[in-house]
Amino acid sequence: MSVVSSPPPARAQSRGRGRGRSQRSRETLAAWLFLAPSTLHFVVFTVGALIASLVISTWQWDLVTEHQFIGVDNYTALVNDPQFFTSLGVTGIYCLITIPSGIVLGMLIALALNQKLRGMATFRFVYFIPYVAPVAAVALLWRWMYNTQYGILNWFLSGILPGDVNIDWLGDPRLAIVAAGIMDVWKNLGWSVTLFTAGLLAIPAHYYEAAELDGASAWQRFRYVTFPLLTPTTFFLVVMGVIGSFQVFDSIYLMLGDTPSSHATTYNFYIWQQGFRYNNMGYAAALSWVLFAIIGIVTFLQFKFLNKRVNYELG
């Protein structure tokens, strides 16, 4: 803070426009020096990488031997690749498992918590532990919990359901993706609860007072006040949930290994498999551009169709 208190230098203020220009070019130079490291990084690892990725997607290339230019063949090959469609389907199923349950549970819990209860900070600390923990670590833990014979989950389910529960969570090819989804919901519950809690805090009390004066029941207050005013949070969670589902890799790799059944191969996992297991760099790059397009289209459609139902009155 010594900068502020030092006496102003007796500098001539009369140099007029010349000073203004040199001041401006000094500012431009300084700005570019400040921006240099990030911009250099951006040019190499984002702009350059995007261009390179587009170029590689027109190659047949195993990283070792000479590449071959094949034009759009990698893209047209997708149409005849059943695993491409299966992976899209698996990712869609993953969205259906994780997004609605994350939203419903997150909203219910946030509603239950929406009172000035003591000890909230301690509880919040606990809720965030799964969110903070690396996916790799919790995937290994859940692989153990999903164990058919000795897993704690089947034991727990046997306790609350009739008969002995012996679900082969990870061995059944179609169930494995459900298992990965359940773990995901567990891991991210603290996040959606926190976002809904923040959303609830933003609703002014006089909305409820007015509703109460009109004789609205608790359900009506939820249906016509709380729920509409939480739609920005819900919308955000849907958009982020779809994007997140297209990124799933760690949990599949650590729970199911490097060759899971095709019904558990998520889209991102398939990209990794093509690129880093089968060394089809060109095909993997094409897959990643298709992913980019899909995420772009899905997000655009969400904004176009869901956004209409979002109430931004408080925003």
Partner: protein
């Protein structure tokens, strides 16, 4: 009276929900801890026991005997710290230029950075890997650190925060003839400490848990991070659950410690990534 009852009922429901969720969140982690201390026969006892029969700490020490645990811990701590420090420096410098300086093309460049947030990381993953392998950086710290040193997200987040800082101090300093670097270092950075900490903690936790990038750019156990080490562990111990869970606990413990200390900043970081972005 009835409203007092209703408020009591609401509070009971509230606490029931709080506790239920805490149990759901914590039980799997307690199960991890419990398993990590069990003998092999105890691991497979049915019904499962939450309290280990005989506290077998050798599950932990044997990991250190068999695997380069210290190396993995050090690698992870070193890489995460280096990346976070780099991101804090580079992102805050760029954020300062975007927030406070006027120059031609500023807004255009800023929007280009902003637009890149929509690019999924898979698209740049393959060229980044190709570049790293052409440079001969596979299995080096450079490969693990340099590609992560700046993020458009960090620039955006810090710029938003810098915009909210009062301008008076800077203007006074400018009149005093202080250089931009000096203003950045002596005024902006001290004022922005809370947001820098929030971003730093958030980024640190992300780096600690990063899996895919370290998996593809490391080959030898010497350069692995804890998450990749866990994969190595799970391949070598297969169904030795006690030791696998001990490895899990080791990979989590330092992160949990940091989370416990910096909880406030971490939750602020999450809030910043959230809604109003």
């Amino acid at each position: 009276m009835s409203s007092a009852n209703a408020s009591l009922a609401r509070r009971v429901v509230g606490y029931a929900a709080l506790i239920a969720l805490a149990v759901v969140a914590a039980a799997p982690l307690l199960w991890m801890l419990s398993t990590s201390l069990k003998s092999n026969s105890n691991v497979f006892s049915y019904p499962p026991q939450w309290i280990p029969h005989d506290w077998k700490f050798s599950n932990y020490t044997s990991l250190w005997d068999d695997l380069p645990m210290n190396r993995w811990l050090l690698n992870t701590a070193f890489i995460s710290t280096a990346v976070v420090l780099g991101q804090l420096l580079f992102c805050s410098m760029a954020a300062y230029a975007f927030a406070r300086m006027t120059f031609r093309g500023r807004d255009l460049l800023f929007y280009v950075f902003l637009a890149s947030l929509m690019v999924p990381y898979q698209v740049t993953l393959i060229p980044a890997f190709v570049l790293i392998s052409k440079l001969g950086w596979i299995d080096t710290y450079k490969a693990l650190i340099i590609p992560q040193l700046s993020t458009p997200f960090g620039i955006f987040m810090l710029r938003q925060f810098f915009m909210t800082l009062p301008k008076e101090l800077e203007e006074a300093a400018r009149l005093d003839g202080a250089s931009y670097w000096r203003i950045y270092r002596t005024i902006i950075i001290p004022l922005a400490k809370p947001s820098l900490l929030a971003f730093g903690v958030f980024s640190f936790i992300g780096m600690w848990g990063d899996f895919l990038w370290p998996l593809i750019v490391t080959n030898t156990p010497d350069k692995m991070t804890l998450t990749v080490g866990l994969n190595y562990l799970s391949n070598s111990y297969n169904t030795d659950w006690a030791r696998l869970m001990a490895g899990d606990v080791i990979s989590l413990a330092p992160l949990m410690l940091i989370y416990a200390i910096a909880q406030r900043y971490f939750i602020q970081g999450i809030a910043m990534t959230g809604l109003k972005g």
